[in-house]
């Protein structure tokens, strides 16, 4: 038993690879699916138990730490841990993977390779979120790109090769920049452990207690600005933030729907998570200096993405841009948390809790939306919004649940989207009123975009493509029920998630990154 708790996170990260090994020797496609599902469920249960224990232990400090020297020449260590910042992304990954597997169940083209790639992706994602040393983190960061590249290339839509290539290369460019910046940082600070860099080094489990070191002083100021923007831009590609988003529409429209669920649900959160984990603790003065600009970038991304979505004619394109809109809110909250002395600590607490809730909520709702988009495309044989109509008549249950997901994205109270948006706005309005006002205007346009979509697809006369659409099968209902349930649950009872993140919130309130 102690093996499982001593190296808990390592087990958690690598169990999916066991599933891959088993898949290699299995031939029946049904068995492959069962193995994958069982693996993801096992990982989910294990991970949730870990998180519950973590939460039970006041959820404040770093837990399940493992620190082993790896390449001591460059200070690369194998360093994992669970704390307030990565608890929620980890939970999101754990919960979303079984759903993705269920979603891919009926996909006729999905065979051993597909599901094995999904499992490898899960390992990569869990690794990214639990890693606390840059090299370690970076390995997994790059690793997350690989299975998705192949998934898009082999199982995607008509322009899949282009989309896969663009996705891979664009995000790779960002990570190259990130890598370069971190190399420079390492040169000046001599360490790559995020925790140490954050000045809240964990206590005695590593080489003695670490006082909050002032890394900012170690780096010459001109270089610090370059590093700050380099890291920010490198991560902004991943989020994505407005000007650097061109890989997103193609990737989201060409990838198979199940993969998009994963991409939008979890992978887009890597960027946000990395901003909080990597960038926030590094340069407190620069944080405060550039926070308003970052807030404007976020507001720009929010409003432009949803305005673009207004004109889009394909269902998935609309959802892709609205997904960008929602993560923009996370960046807005991040800007607030960056704010320095200008922003009160309670505002930061609100913004940070809103950020994590939005990460979770958007993961669920966006995954749900893309799932529906995939169902519609597959049944109606068209990707255009105008191809559908009168869905309410042919498939009322699907319409109802799809409507729930759409309203959750709009931000209706009672569903998860509202709580996070409220907290973010509460946090950012006092210090960045105009940016927040622009973002709120984005909320109105979001409602407009989704209502128009709903009208076109649900109401009106039944189009020829829609006639053949049958309502949800039991398997699909099983796939959707967890997502819909979570939307309501987090909308009505968000406190458990907020509690999970409270370690991070307390750190921010206590002045980390100041």
């Amino acid at each position: 038993m102690s093996i499982f708790t001593d190296h808990a996170l390592t087990w958690l990260t690598f169990i999916p690879l066991l599933g891959v090994l088993i898949n290699c020797v299995v031939t029946s496609s049904f068995t492959v699916r069962v193995i994958t599902l069982v693996t993801t469920l096992v990982v989910m249960v294990y991970g949730l138990v870990l998180c519950v224990l973590f939460a039970g232990n006041k959820a404040a400090t770093l837990a399940y730490v493992e620190h082993y020297p790896w390449i001591s020449l460059v200070n690369a260590n194998y360093f994992v841990g669970l704390d307030g910042i990565n608890a929620i992304p980890v939970v999101l990954t754990l919960l979303l993977m079984p759903v993705v597997v269920l979603a891919a169940w009926r996909n006729p083209r999905a065979g051993r390779l597909f599901f094995s790639l999904l499992l490898i992706e899960q390992t990569a994602l869990l690794g990214v979120f639990t890693a606390l040393n840059f090299y370690h983190w970076f390995v997994f960061y790059e690793l997350t790109l690989v299975p998705v590249y192949f998934l898009i290339k082999y199982y995607g839509g008509t322009h899949r090769s282009d989309a896969a290539f663009k996705f891979f290369l664009y995000t790779l460019a960002g990570s190259v920049l990130l890598f370069v910046c971190y190399q420079l940082l390492h040169y000046y600070t001599g360490t790559l452990d995020f925790v140490t860099l954050g000045g809240h080094g964990i206590m005695d489990t590593i080489e003695g207690p670490l006082p909050g070191q002032d890394f900012e002083r170690m780096v010459p100021s001109a270089l610090a600005i370059f590093l700050f923007w380099g890291i920010f831009i490198g991560l902004a590609v991943k989020v994505p933030l407005y000007p650097l988003h061109s890989w997103l529409p193609d990737a989201y429209t060409q990838a198979p729907p199940e993969v998009v669920m994963l991409m939008t649900g979890v992978m887009s959160k890597i960027g946000i998570y990395a901003l909080v984990r990597l960038l926030l603790p590094l340069f407190p003065e620069l944080n405060a200096q550039f926070a308003p600009l970052v807030a404007w970038l976020a507001a720009l991304s929010i409003i432009v993405s949803i305005l673009v979505a207004l004109q889009k004619k394909e269902i998935r394109e609309v959802f892709a841009y609205s997904s960008m809109n929602h993560v923009g809110f996370c960046v807005l909250a991040f800007a607030c948390v960056m704010g320095g002395a200008a922003v009160s600590s309670s505002d930061k607490a609100f913004a940070l809790s809103g950020l994590f809730l939005q990460v979770f909520s958007h993961g669920i709702t966006a995954a749900c939306l893309f799932y529906f988009a995939g169902l519609l495309e597959e049944r109606g044989n068209t990707v255009l919004i105008s191809g559908f109509g009168g869905l309410r008549n042919v498939a009322p249950v699907m319409t109802g649940l799809f409507g729930v997901a759409l309203f959750a994205s709009i931000g209706l109270p009672g569903l998860s989207g509202f709580v996070s948006e409220f907290l973010i706005i509460r946090g950012t309005l006092p210090s960045y009123p105009w940016q927040t006002a622009v973002s709120c205007a984005g909320l109105i346009v979001t409602a407009l975009v989704f209502l128009k979509l709903m009208e076109r697809i649900f109401f009106g006369p039944v189009t020829p493509q829609s006639e053949t659409i049958h309502d949800l099968t039991p398997m699909e209902k099983v796939t959707l029920i967890p997502l819909i349930f979570l939307m309501f649950a987090i909308g009505l009872f968000p406190q458990p998630l907020v509690y999970l993140a409270q370690g991070a919130i307390q750190l921010i309130e206590g002045g980390v990154g100041q």
């Binding site: 663009k166 529409p249 600590s345 809790s353 006092p430 409602a447 407009l448 649900f458 968000p494 907020v498």
Partner: protein, 658 residues
């Protein structure tokens, strides 16, 4: 026991939600069950609301709440309050709701989707009741949005009608604009004051002089920050309550079934804005300029609504514009006279407007779907009960002196406005005149003038389930007024509750007489103009262009669509073009990189690197061949050379050894 009642008060809001949840899973065929469930739900609300009312009469206001989200050191609480305002609103909403639910069952009887209808109705009722009992701006906002959702679902209920769907969207988006202002206002207020609860053991927004110190702080363009918060919140109220410029959704909302119009767009949801301002009145009072703005917007809305109502021909549209007008009056009364005045008119209006709408529904039902008043007539004889009740509502709305509640409520508004600002008073008087006028027009054309329906068509009276609520509402339309007369203002006293004395109230006989005269002259004018008319509107010929403008609703909707809709479309297209530009940039970049790579490969790699290596290898080969030509395969030669070599070698060794 006295501790239990406040805690159980939340059932007022929860019961309809529960009913909605259960009926959401019911199948289409279970019409009767879903109706019974909905009615049971709202009856439970009514019972508990009345209990709450009694409780408040005997005890003071009390709040019950719990922590909802605790990010770090802060805590966001959700709580509900039992005080005069919340309990009286809850009682009114659930009572009117109950009557309308009963009416709906008969009205929607033939529709296929009755189950869904009652689910949405219950959802609405739950949301509305949560709104009125909430003690926190956040909970209020959340309920506000739920109510907006229910309104969307109900307006678009007949989803196969594209007009209904478009109207639903318009309603949602327009109110959403208001909601965003509201949200920003709430958040700003929260950050200014540190709390969003109304009453919270002394720390609430409405308590004592808590906000007094900051009332004049943070001037931006001459208005204190608190004033801007109030204006933003009023923006939200304007959206929901159809004040200009966000009134455009209300008339279109008439596409929904008539009970929906009655419940949501007459009695309750649209009143939510007024309720909100009444609730926050102690905050608004601190910034008098805001109250002025509210009053002016209210009176302008009232005027616009009244003018446009004169030229409409659809019975429901007339009532819709009338609602807009009355909501404006409510806002006016609220701003000039305080919550007692505004809320009194709100409640009275709820009763008689619901009555009017339900009566209109009865008329439409009896006329087999006809809604144009020019095609009706003579219904006095064929639908007597409906006619009687409708006339009661009409007289109440017009402010017929003394007997009807509308008179008393409007009198209060006029008296308060008279004391506030004379210009506003004059405008309000004009509104009252027009109200009486257009309502008389309506009643004459529908009930009294000779029938213009198709030959052989006989309208019949509606079933008992529909007429009973009408009668009840009619009784209230008359009786409710008497609890708010200037001589004995029971309602005002109740609202003022245990906090302080109400304002000194001297009876303004001038206003009372004037308003009576106005009402009577409006009715008289309407009678004279429309007596016996059947085919054309005399106003149309007399007023010409003006009439056409009014009939086309001053083209406001068209302007909005062109400016805002068109503007959005243009921006969106522009941004999409920029997206394409990004694509082009990416392709250009990749083309440049590919070109560079091609050059490097051809010139650099292939020519220089590979080429030089190849040439070296060629040289080696040629040299080798030359050396190769020495060997001719002759063994003898080989031996010969070998021997020579040995000899030389030995010579060298020998010389070395020497």
């Amino acid at each position: 026991m006295s501790d239990l009642c406040p805690r159980l008060f939340c059932i007022v809001a929860l019961a309809p939600f529960l009913a909605a949840l259960v009926s959401a899973f019911m199948r289409r065929e279970q019409k009767k069950n879903s109706a019974i469930l909905a009615i049971a739900g709202i009856s439970a609300s009514l019972v508990f609301a009345l209990c709450g009312l009694v409780y408040v009469l005997t005890h003071g206001p009390i709040t019950v709440g719990f922590n909802w989200i605790v990010p770090g050191a802060n805590a966001i609480r959700l709580s509900w309050v039992l005080d005069p305002l919340s309990t009286s609103m809850a009682a009114m909403v659930s009572f009117v709701g109950l009557l309308i639910f009963i009416y709906s069952y008969a009205y929607m009887h033939d529709d296929v989707n009755v189950t869904r209808f009652f689910t949405f109705l219950s959802l609405f009722a739950g949301g509305m009741l949560t709104l009125v009992i909430s003690n926190s701006l956040l909970l209020l906002f959340m309920a506000w949005e739920i109510v907006g959702l229910a309104s969307y679902l109900l307006i678009g209920f007949w989803y196969h009608k594209p007009e209904a769907v478009a109207a639903a969207r318009k309603a949602f988006i327009t109110t959403r604009v208001g909601d965003i202002f509201f949200l920003i206002g709430i958040v700003w207020l929260y950050s200014l004051t540190g709390t969003i609860t109304f009453l919270e053991e002394g720390r609430g927004l409405l308590e004592g002089n808590r906000l007094q110190p900051i009332a004049a702080a943070g001037l931006i363009f001459g208005l204190p920050a608190l004033g801007w918060c109030c204006l933003l919140i009023f923006g939200g109220a304007a959206g929901k309550s159809g004040q200009i410029p966000l009134h455009v959704w209300l008339p279109d909302a008439m596409e929904g079934p008539t009970p929906v119009s009655a419940l949501i767009h007459a009695a309750t949801m649209v009143a939510a804005g007024v309720f909100l301002i009444a609730r926050l009145y102690p905050v608004f009072v601190l910034v008098p300029l805001v109250l002025h703005i509210v009053a002016w917007i209210g009176v302008l809305t009232a005027l616009l609504g009244a003018f446009l109502a004169v030229a409409q021909n659809d019975i429901k549209r007339i009532l819709a514009y009338s609602t807009i007008s009355q909501l404006g009056l409510m806002m006016l009364g609220l701003a000039t006279g305080g919550p007692a005045v505004g809320m009194f008119h709100l409640m009275a209006h709820a009763f008689f407007k619901a009555l009017l709408f339900l009566g209109a529904g009865s008329v439409i039902h009896g006329m087999a779907g006809e809604q144009n008043i020019w095609k009706m007539g003579g219904l006095r004889k064929s639908m007597p009960v409906t006619c009687l009740c409708f006339v009661v509502g009409y007289l109440a709305l017009s402010g017929f002196p003394f007997l009807f509640s509308g008179f008393w409520s409007k009198d209060e508004i006029l008296a308060a406005t008279f004391a506030f600002d004379r210009t506003l008073f004059v405008l309000a008087v004009v509104v009252s005149l027009l109200t009486a006028f257009y309502m008389t027009r309506l009643v004459m054309l529908v009930f009294f003038n000779p029938s213009r329906a198709a030959d052989g068509f006989h309208a019949h009276e509606s079933p008992r389930l529909m007429t009973m609520p009408l009668i009840v509402l009619a009784i209230f339309s008359i009786g409710f007024g008497f609890i708010g007369t200037p001589w004995w203002n029971g309602f005002g006293k109740f609202l003022a509750g245990h906090h302080g004395a109400e304002a000194e109230h001297h009876v303004n006989y001038f206003v009372m007489v004037l308003s009576s005269l106005i009402a009577l002259s409006g009715i008289g004018a309407g009678y004279l103009v429309y007596r016996g008319r059947g085919l054309t509107d005399p106003l149309e010929t007399r007023l010409g262009v003006v009439y056409r403008l009014l009939a086309q609703r001053l083209y406001i909707d068209e302007m909005y669509d062109a400016v805002i809709g068109g503007g959005l479309r243009m921006i969106s297209k522009l941004l999409n073009a920029i997206e394409l530009a990004f694509e082009l940039v990416l392709r250009l970049l990749s083309a440049v990189v590919t070109g560079l790579a091609w050059i490097l490969e051809k010139a650099g790699d292939r020519y220089l690197v590979d080429g030089s290596f190849d040439r070296m290898c060629d040289g080696l080969r040629i040299t080798g061949k030359r050396f190769l030509s020495v060997q001719r395969g002759q063994i003898t030669e080989t031996i010969g050379y070998g021997t020579l070599g040995v000899v030389f070698g030995c010579l060298i060794v020998w010389s070395l050894l020497k």
